[in-house]
Symmetry: C2
Subunit: 519 residues, 2 copies
C-alpha cells in the first residue's frame, strides 16, 4: 500500500543528492573567530563528591604563566574559564634563548577535570581511542609560534613538558575559538540566578556545536545528526537565529539519502565519507523540522523543495509497520532509537512519532499549498491513532504501553502526547503516574528528557518542567558543567559511555534545550 500523497521520484536520487550537496556547499558560511586566553592555573584534586571523582582547584592566575619557567618533566594545567572550540597557538621560547634540540610536549585538551588525569593505558572504550584529545608534539625551532592543525573542544589544557633543551617559557597560549556565531546571548531579564546560569550554559553548548554544520558534539563525534538538529534548530530559533546553518545541515543530510529514499540521520561534512545511519524515528522528524523552519524563517521555496523528501520518510516508515496491531518489522540496517536505553520497548513510541510526523506533514502541506495531501495525511494519522488506542492504551492505568510485555515507559507517554494520541488531560495524568510508577522505564538521557520538558510544557505542568530543568540540567551545573553533557545520570557520577568515561562528550547538542524553557 502507499499514500495517496505527493510522490518522490527515486530514479532522480543521483541527481538530487548532487544538487543537495551543491546546495549545502553554497550555504556554507565563514566561522566567527575569537581569541580566548587561559584564566587560571589549576591543579586536579581527587574528590569523591565531584563528578567522575575529580575537580580542579585554582592555584594562580594565568597572568603568571609568562613569568613561569618549565623544565623537562614538569606540567601545568590551564583553565580557560569556559568551554570553547578552536585551535591552539603556542608562543614559546627557552629561558636562555638557546634551543639546540626539539622541544617535546604532551598536550591534553579536556572538557572535564577527569580527562586531565587520562593516560592511554586507562582506555577501555569501544569507540576509537583517537577521540581522546591527547597530542604529542615536537617543536624543532624556538622562539616561535606554533599553531596545531587539529580542532579541539575543551575548557582545560594540560601541558606535560617531556623534554626541553632548557627552561621553557610560554609567552602566550591563544585559543583561537570558532563557532558559526560566537557571541553568547544574554539570559532573559528577571529570571533567577540558576535560570540565568542554565540559559548561558545552554547557549554555550549550542554555540560550541554550531560550526560549519550543527554538530552533535565538538569533541566527539563531530557529526550532524537529524535528531540533534531538530532540537538545535528549535534552540537556535530563540537564540542565534542562524537559519542558513539549519538549511545547510538539512541539505547535508539530504545529500546522503539512501536508495530507498530514506534521509540519512547522520552526515559527515567531508563529501567522501558517506553515512550508514538510518533511524526511522529521526527521519520522521523531517516534516516538523521543515515546519518549524518555515514558521521561523519563512523561506517557502526551501521548505517546498524538501517537502517530497519529508513525505517520503513517512512512506518508508509506513512500510516498516508489520500490522494493524502496531508492531514493527525489524531490519538489521535500521535502528529504532527513541532513547539510549537497551530495555526500552520502542514500538508504541515509534508509531506515535509516525502520527506526530503525519500531523506535522499535514500542517506543512497546508502552509505550502500541497492541499491535495492534507486529507490523506490526516486520515492516515487518525487511523494509527485509533490503532494505538486500541492496542497500546491501557484503560485501567490510563497509560500507553509498548511491546508484547506491555511495557510502561516515559517514552511512550511523551510521544503519545506529542502525537496527540493522548489528550492534554490524559497526558498530564500519564506523566504524573509514570514519574513514580514502579517498573516504569524512565529516561536518563538529555535527548528524550528534552521532549519530556516539551510535554510538561504542553500539559501546563510548569512545576514539573522547572523541577526537571533544575534537577537534571541544574544537576550538571552543580557538578561544575559549563556546557551540558551527552549523558547524565544524577545517580551515577562515574557513568561510562561506550565502555569508557573518557569518551563522554561534555558539550552535546541534544542537551541544549534549557534556553527554550527559560523565559
Amino acid at each position: 500500500m502507499d499514500f495517496n500523497v505527493t510522490g518522490f521520484d527515486l530514479t532522480a536520487l543521483p541527481q538530487l543528492r548532487q544538487m543537495w550537496a551543491a546546495q549545502a556547499e553554497s550555504l556554507r558560511h565563514e566561522l566567527e573567530h575569537q581569541d580566548a586566553y587561559p584564566k587560571y592555573i589549576v591543579k586536579t584534586v581527587a574528590d569523591a563528591a565531584a563528578y567522575q571523582g575529580v575537580r580542579v582547584e585554582n592555584v594562580g592566575s594565568a597572568g603568571e604563566l609568562k613569568n613561569m619557567t618549565f623544565p623537562s618533566h614538569s606540567s601545568v594545567i590551564l583553565d580557560f574559564g569556559e568551554h570553547h572550540v578552536g585551535y591552539f597557538e603556542f608562543t614559546m621560547r627557552t629561558a636562555t634563548g638557546y634551543c639546540d634540540s626539539p622541544v617535546s610536549l604532551r598536550l591534553m585538551m579536556a572538557e572535564l577535570p577527569y580527562e586531565l588525569e587520562y593516560t592511554s593505558d586507562k582506555f577501555t572504550g569501544k569507540l576509537s581511542q583517537g577521540w581522546i584529545q591527547e597530542e604529542y608534539i615536537k617543536i624543532d625551532v624556538l622562539p616561535g609560534t606554533i599553531r596545531l592543525p587539529r580542532r579541539y573542544a575543551c575548557r582545560y589544557l594540560r601541558i606535560d613538558i617531556i623534554a626541553t633543551p632548557n627552561q621553557l617559557i610560554f609567552d602566550q597560549i591563544c585559543f583561537d575559538t570558532v563557532a558559526a556565531r560566537n557571541s553568547l546571548p544574554q539570559a532573559p531579564a528577571g529570571v533567577s540566578v540558576l535560570d540565568q546560569e542554565l540559559y548561558t550554559a545552554a547557549c554555550r553548548t549550542l554555540r560550541d556545536c554550531m560550526q560549519t554544520c550543527f554538530e552533535d558534539g565538538p569533541k566527539r563525534d563531530r557529526r550532524l545528526w537529524l535528531g540533534d538538529l531538530y532540537l538545535q534548530a528549535k534552540s537556535n530559533a530563540v537564540t542565534y537565529r542562524d537559519y542558513l546553518l539549519v538549511e545547510r545541515s538539512i541539505c547535508l543530510l539530504a545529500a546522503n539519502t539512501n536508495d530507498a529514499g530514506m534521509i540519512a540521520v547522520c552526515a559527515f561534512e567531508h563529501p567522501g565519507m558517506r553515512t550508514n545511519c538510518f533511524y526511522p524515528d529521526y527521519m520522521m522528524l523531517m516534516p516538523a523540522l521543515l515546519l518549524d523552519h518555515l514558521d521561523e524563517y519563512d523561506r517557502r521555496e526551501f521548505a517546498a523543495g524538501f517537502y517530497p523528501l519529508a513525505i517520503q520518510q513517512l512512506r518508508v516508515f509506513r512500510g516498516m509497520i508489520a500490522g494493524e496491531n502496531c508492531t514493527l518489522t525489524r531490519y538489521p540496517q535500521y535502528r529504532y532509537f527513541i532513547d539510549h536505553c537497551p530495555q526500552l520497548e520502542v514500538e508504541t513510541a515509534e508509531i506515535c512519532v509516525y502520527i506526530f510526523a503525519l500531523r506535522k506533514a499535514a500542517e506543512l502541506a497546508r502552509k505550502l499549498g500541497f492541499d491535495g495531501d492534507i486529507a490523506a495525511l490526516t486520515a492516515e494519522a487518525d487511523r494509527w491513532e485509533q490503532n494505538i488506542r486500541k492496542y497500546a492504551f491501557d484503560h485501567d492505568s490510563g497509560l500507553l504501553v509498548s511491546g508484547a510485555a506491555r511495557q510502561v515507559s516515559q517514552a511512550s507517554q511523551i510521544w503519545g502526547i506529542l502525537s496527540g494520541v493522548l489528550s492534554i488531560d490524559e497526558g498530564k495524568a500519564a506523566l504524573t503516574k509514570v514519574k513514580t510508577l514502579p517498573g516504569a522505564v524512565r529516561s536518563r538521557n538529555p535527548y528524550l528528557l528534552t521532549y519530556l520538558l516539551e510535554v510538561y510544557d504542553i500539559c501546563g505542568m510548569s512545576e514539573d518542567l522547572d523541577e526537571l530543568l533544575h534537577s537534571y540540567w541544574g544537576g550538571m551545573l552543580k557538578l561544575g558543567a559549563d556546557t551540558f553533557w551527552e549523558m547524565f545520570d544524577p545517580d551515577d557520577l562515574y557513568q561510562e559511555l561506550y565502555g569508557d568515561a573518557y569518551l563522554l562528550s561534555a558539550c552535546h547538542a541534544w542537551s541544549c534545550a534549557p534556553s527554550l524553557y527559560i523565559r
Copy 2:
C-alpha cells in the same frame, strides 16, 4: 704579543656578522627531491651478535602493503632499503570507506633496528628526548593523503595502529627524500666489493648530511659543525662537488663569530638561534678549509674575504698558550676537543693543530697574495715546532707526549704528522709503535680516526690505511650499516651516547671519509 700579520677589525664585527648572514642566505640553494618507497616488510629479531642486539628479518615485499588491512592494535615495520632524509606522506583509507572517528597512529622512524623497539620509558639519555623520532599523529578524515611537517632521517618506519574506525589500508607510503645532491656517485672502477660498499655508504652518509648546510647528523643534532665541515668539504670535493654549500656553511659559522673574533664551531640555520660552541682546535681548521676550497673551486674573492677571519683564529689561539713549554690556559667557555675521549691529554695535539694551521695559513697567504704575512706565519710555526720538539717529544721512544703525565696518544702523533712536527719517517715509526703500545690512548671515534687515515696515507702506510678502513668502517658495514655512525667501538655493540644508545646518530658527517681513500 701579536702576529705581525693581516689584522682583523673587531669593531666591524656587528656589520660583518650581518653581511655574512646575508651572504649565507644568498648562497642557499633548493634541495633535490626524490620519492622513495618501502622495499620490504620486516620484523625485529633479538640477536646477541647483532649491533645493539637487534636485527631485522624480511617477512615480505612492501608491494604487499597495499593489499594488507590493519586493525587497531596492529603494527607493521617497513624497510626503505637504505637510509634517507625527508618527509613522509601517507595515503590511507579504511577498508569499508567509512571513517567516523580519528585514526590514531604511533610512528617510529628508525636509523637502526634497535630504535624500532624504543618505548619512551626506556629513555635514559642526558640530551633531549625530543631527538627520538617517535611521533603520535591523528587523522580526522580518510581517505586522504597526510604529509607530516617534520623531517626525519631513517631507513625503517614502524607504524603502530593505536585506533582506526575499521581496518586501515595504506595505499602508498612515500618518503619524499631531500638532499643538496640526491644522486649517489658511482664507486671507482676496479675496487673490491667491500671497497665499493664502503664508498657507497660513505657517499650516502655525506648525501644525507648535505641539506641546506652541511649537517653533522640529520637525526641528531642537525647542526653545522666546523670540524665535521672540514672533513665533509674534503669528501664533497671528490664526490658531489657542491661548492656553494661549502661557502654557505662557512658564512653561517662566520655569522656567529663571537666578540673575541672566534668563529663559532657550530651554527644553527635559524637566525634567531645563536651558538655558544667555541673549540680552539676546530676554529683553527679555517685556514686549511679555505685553502682546500680555493684549490678546488678557485674562487679567490671568497677565500680572500675570509682570510682575515682565518688569521684571527690563530691570533686568538696564540693568546691561549700559557707558556713556551706548550701548556694551555683553560677557559670554562671554550673546549679543547681533539677527540671524544675524556682521558685524552690534548695540549700537544692542540699546539700541533696550531702549527698545522699556521703552515696552511702561510700557503693560503701565498696563493691569495698576502705575501707580507708569509714570513711571520712561517716563523711562528717554526718557533712552536721547536718548542713541541723540545718539551713534548720523547727521544727515547720517538713519540710525542702530552701533559704533565707525558701521555702517549694516537692524537698527538696524528697532529704531529699533520703539522709537520714529525717527519714522514718519524711519523711512520710513531704510528706503528702507538698501535700496540700498552697504555697508549687510542681513538674509537670516526673524527680522529679520519685523520689517522690521512696520516697513514701521508706516511705511505697503505696497508695500515686499508686495515683501518676495513676493520673500523668495514666493521660498521658488517653490522648492517648503510651509513656510517657517529660513534663506533668494535668491542662494544651496546655503546651508549649521552647516556642512551637511542641518541646515537647512525648517519654522521664526520664518518664520511672512506670516499677519500677508495681510489
